[in-house]
Amino acid sequence: MNWTVNLLLMLFLLATAVVAITLKDLLAAVVVFSAYSLMMAMLWTQLRAPDLALTEAAVGAGVTTVLFIIVVYRTVRREDR
């Protein structure tokens, strides 16, 4: 049971990582990266590192996502210019 959950989490982690670097739309990439952070936080709890899981969930999925979105909001699409 435990290893299937871990395997699913890792597969999803890998998928979100690949999607995040291949997406052309920056906002979508930021959202997928946030999902990556959430998966990573769950994996940290599986690895018995709850401190890191708390940090990853608050900083990785929360604060940096907002910072990235603010920065994306301030940029202009190359096609629109």
Binding site: D51, L54, T55, A58, V59, G62, V63, V66, L67, I70
Partner: protein, 251 residues
């Protein structure tokens, strides 16, 4: 020619690193130095040496205290860089996209934020104060405080939240993490023991226990409040748009 040089340099570095790896004890082996020295020391003497029930807190605040001090100063200098480039928000003139938008925020979103914010804040304070005996700690709690205020800001707009938490209230609290950490560290020196020692000699057993708890709580609260306010200030100065900039957009 250039590429060949790069290739040779990379090959030399790679071979050196691989040679070093070959000399290392195999992964998970019982003979590796961290298993023979570090882990027994931390697990066996962590509580009486570092002064925290949670070994991770002991490592973070005592064994690797200088590392934590460096991290605290790193986020402080990140704030300094952001303020130097982007400047703080201006009272009554700075707003964010939500304030300028003519579409009102959905009632569902505002209600959910209103109901969840106090709970999130309570959890953050719990995380900070229980960093010593259980997982969590100042930095995590501070990040949760920061995230909750940032959530409030992106839903209700910068004008509202800068009125609630004005720069005048934030500026003194931004350095609280470094000041708290350093002052608690120097208490150890004043008692004739090492920097960042929490179990002070020369006190009674009960008094030393109280002082240890107080010092750890001051450090955790300082790191938490300082870190949270630093996150908030960084986001405020990144999200702000001054009113005269916005008027150009409106025809």
């Amino acid at each position: 020619m250039k590429r060949l040089l790069v290739l040779v340099a990379l090959a030399v570095i790679g071979v050196t690193l691989l040679y070093g790896i070959g000399k290392m004890p195999p992964m998970d082996s019982r003979a590796s130095p961290d298993k023979t020295h570090v882990v027994p020391r931390y697990l066996g003497h962590g509580e009486e040496e570092a002064g925290a029930k949670n070994i991770i807190t002991g490592v973070i605040l005592n064994y690797r205290g200088y590392d934590t001090m460096g991290e605290v100063s790193v986020i402080f200098s990140a704030l300094c860089a952001v303020i130097a480039i982007l400047d703080r928000e201006k009272k009554g003139r700075s707003r964010s996209g939500v304030d300028a938008s003519r579409v009102r925020t959905s009632l569902i979103v505002t209600t959910v934020v209103r109901f969840s914010l106090p709970v999130v804040m309570l959890f953050a304070v719990y995380t900070m104060l229980h960093g010593e005996p259980s997982p969590g700690g100042g930095f995590q709690g501070g990040a949760i405080v920061g995230a909750s205020i940032i959530l409030f800001t992106i839903v209700f707009g910068l004008a509202v939240s800068t009125k609630r938490i004005p720069p005048g209230a934030r500026v003194p609290m931004e350095s609280v993490n470094m000041l708290g950490f350093l002052s608690m560290g120097f208490i150890g020196l004043a008692f004739g023991v090492q920097f960042l020692t929490y179990i002070l000699p020369g006190l009674g057993v009960a008094a030393a226990e109280t002082v240890r708890k107080l010092m750890l709580d001051v450090i955790e609260l300082g790191i938490g409040i300082g870190g949270g306010i630093i996150f908030i200030s960084i986001v405020f100065s990144m999200i702000r748009e001054d009113r005269y900039e916005l008027q150009q957009d409106v025809p």
